[in-house]
């Protein structure tokens, strides 16, 4: 219990116009863990994060960061956290070094300015005005100020948006190194590969709720793998061996292409290929694909539309049945 650095219970946030952006979110993050909040735009990621950062009081539920209420007891929390908002928030007429100096003066245990800039690769840009920086450089300046106090907990709201592929890799390495040195990290992203690469655990948000959460492998494992192919003219799905015996849970035929979904990919693929060899059938454009986070993400987004009450992996995958076209008995 002492090592739950972030603890969120039934969190709600309602904006002035009555829009309920966060509708009962619960999760916790342990010390040294890297937790990703994943979701489409408008899913409620930033709204949730701002409550954890103590920028607003929740409409309902409870937040604890390092054992404190980050809004009511901000003085007990602020010097131990680092925050990177979705948009930078630096005066455009200050130089990079002046910006970092200002933040260093306001932050306990601040690193030297040069070191803070070196970490994010902005050492050579220290004399440049913020308004002249590229979007990616601004993002890295933001990261430098978030890291300047060597925080125990780091909140990163879409840390790599606007970065090129190389900048993204560098940020990933930096964030991973911070995690390895014991920093607890909570990040939001809409890049699936970012969550897949970095996160120890993740939660997929949709319309203000958590639709699925757990370790990346577990969330993915809840999703079926795919085998898809085209049958030669004159062959039909009914000519295949009984699908249940192959471990196929659902199938679909779209435009002459057969799509099998299975939780036992090896058994299904082996059975199918042995049948094809014995029947001397050529399977056109054969594609055998393990479940991916992307698949999980898309299915959850679609499924949640049909079942707004979905929460937790079990409920979400149950709701996924809504989109099943045909289910093998």
């Amino acid at each position: 219990m002492t090592d739950q650095v972030i603890d969120v219970t039934d969190l709600r946030r309602v904006y002035g116009g009555g829009f309920e952006a966060v509708r009962g979110v619960s999760f916790s993050v342990g010390r040294g863990e890297l937790f990703a909040l994943l979701g489409t735009n408008g899913a409620g990621k930033t709204s949730t994060l701002e409550l954890l950062e103590g920028l607003a009081a929740p409409a309902g539920g409870r937040v604890r960061v390092l054992g404190h209420d980050p809004y009511a007891e901000r003085g007990a929390v602020r010097h131990r956290i680092g925050v990177m908002l979705q948009e930078s928030g630096f005066p455009s007429e200050l130089t990079v070094a002046e910006t970092v100096r200002m933040w260093a003066g306001c932050t306990s245990g601040a690193r030297p300015i040069g070191e803070a800039l070196e970490i994010v690769g902005l050492g050579k840009r220290s004399g440049v005005r913020v308004k002249m920086l590229s979007g990616g450089e601004k993002r890295r300046l933001d990261l430098a100020t978030a890291l300047i106090g060597q925080p125990e907990v780091l909140f990163l709201d879409e840390p790599t948006t606007g970065l090129d592929a190389e900048g993204r890799r560098e940020t990933w390495e930096l964030v991973r190194a911070l995690r390895d040195s014991g920093t607890t990290v909570l990040l939001t992203t809409h890049y699936l590969e970012e969550a897949e690469h970095l996160a120890d655990r993740l939660a997929i948000m949709h319309e203000g709720r958590i639709a699925a959460s757990g370790r990346v492998a577990d969330v993915v494992a809840e999703q079926p793998s795919h085998v898809s192919f085209e049958l030669p003219t004159g062959y039909f799905v009914g000519d295949l061996p009984p699908l249940a015996e192959l471990g196929v849970s659902e199938h679909e035929v779209v435009g002459g292409r057969v799509l099998l979904r299975t939780h036992e990919l090896q058994r299904a693929a082996t059975g199918l290929l042995l049948w094809a060899r014995d029947a001397d059938v050529s399977l056109g454009r054969l594609d055998v694909r393990a479940a991916s986070l992307e698949e999980a993400f898309l299915r959850i987004a679609r499924a949640a539309e049909g079942a707004t009450g979905a929460s937790g992996v079990a409920a979400a995958s149950g709701a996924a049945g809504v989109v099943q076209k045909e289910t093998v008995a």
Binding site: T2, E53, G54, L55, L66, G67, R74, G75, A76, R78, H79, R80, V83, L85, E87, S88, G89, F90, P91, S92, E93, L94, E98, T99, R101, M102, W103, A104, G105, C106, T107, S108, G109, E152
Partner: protein, 264 residues
């Protein structure tokens, strides 16, 4: 409380944090040429135009001299241009650039952010007042204040009041441009109604009794009284009470209405 729940202690102080913020704001002020010009020169140049008018006024029997008409007015201009108008622009610009929101994620507390951002403008205002006081004493024979504590008290209340009014005005402005427009009503009302050009003593009584209630009026009255030493005890008390009331209302309005983030 067990030691496991105790984290490391914050090592920054409110003064240190505000100094860091004020330093950045001073740099920014130096780069905002338009704001800087208006804040620096308008309050120093305007008194000379007032001086001409004051020389033509019938000041006999009012206990005033050209110097004690011009100086409080000049200090009023300093509060309006160097503090109020300049700070309104600063608060709006920082909010729209999301600087205020970002600062609130750090160790600075809300009042420290507002005060730290205000320090350079306030420093300019105070420096101007000193320059004006010396200038008027030497050039216009305003003399040495007979009740300096009243002048200082009036100035301090005026600074806090107009810094807070700047924050309030900024909250109702969507952009730096609209901030200039939004600050106009109070600027004009103060210039013509608070005794900057025309002392209350030479206004018609009915007009004067309304104008004396404006926020800048008790400040000017205290400063002028500080120089002439002719403010009666009851006048001093009522001016102080009014200045304190405006200051309290302004600070309350900031707490109630200040916007930290742009409207979406």
């Amino acid at each position: 409380m067990s030691t496991t729940t105790m984290g490391p202690v914050a090592t920054t102080t409110p003064a240190g944090r505000m100094r860091a913020l004020a330093r950045a704001e001073l740099t920014l002020l130096g780069r905002a040429k338009g704001t800087l010009f208006a804040a620096l020169f308008v309050p120093l140049v305007l008194p000379f135009s007032v001086q001409q008018a004051a020389k033509g006024m019938d000041l006999k029997g009012t206990g005033l001299s050209v110097g004690t008409v011009v100086l409080p007015g000049a200090i009023g201009f300093s509060l309006l241009f160097a503090v109020y108008s300049a700070l309104t622009a600063v608060y709006v610009a920082r909010r729209e650039e999301l600087v205020l929101k970002r600062l609130r994620t750090g160790e600075l507390r809300d009042p420290e952010i507002l005060a730290g951002a205000a320090l350079p403008s306030i420093a300019i205002g105070v420096t101007q007042c000193l320059v004006l006081a010396v200038g008027c004493a030497v050039l216009l024979d305003a003399g040495v204040p007979s009740a300096p504590h009243l002048a200082v008290l009036g100035l301090l209340l005026g600074i806090v009041m107009f810094a807070a009014l700047a924050a309030v005005t900024g909250s109702f402005s969507r952009s730096a441009e609209s901030a200039q427009v939004m600050s106009m009503p109070l600027m004009f009302a103060s210039m013509f109604g608070s005794g900057l050009f025309i002392p209350f003593e030479v206004m018609p009584d009915k007009v004067a009794s309304v104008c004396e209630l404006l926020p800048l009026s008790p400040v000017i009255e205290l400063v002028r009284g500080g120089w002439t030493g002719e403010l009666s005890g009851s006048d001093t008390l009522s001016a102080l009470a009014l200045a304190v009331a405006w200051t309290v209302v302004s600070v309350f309005a900031v707490r109630r209405w200040f916007r930290w983030e742009p409207r979406r």
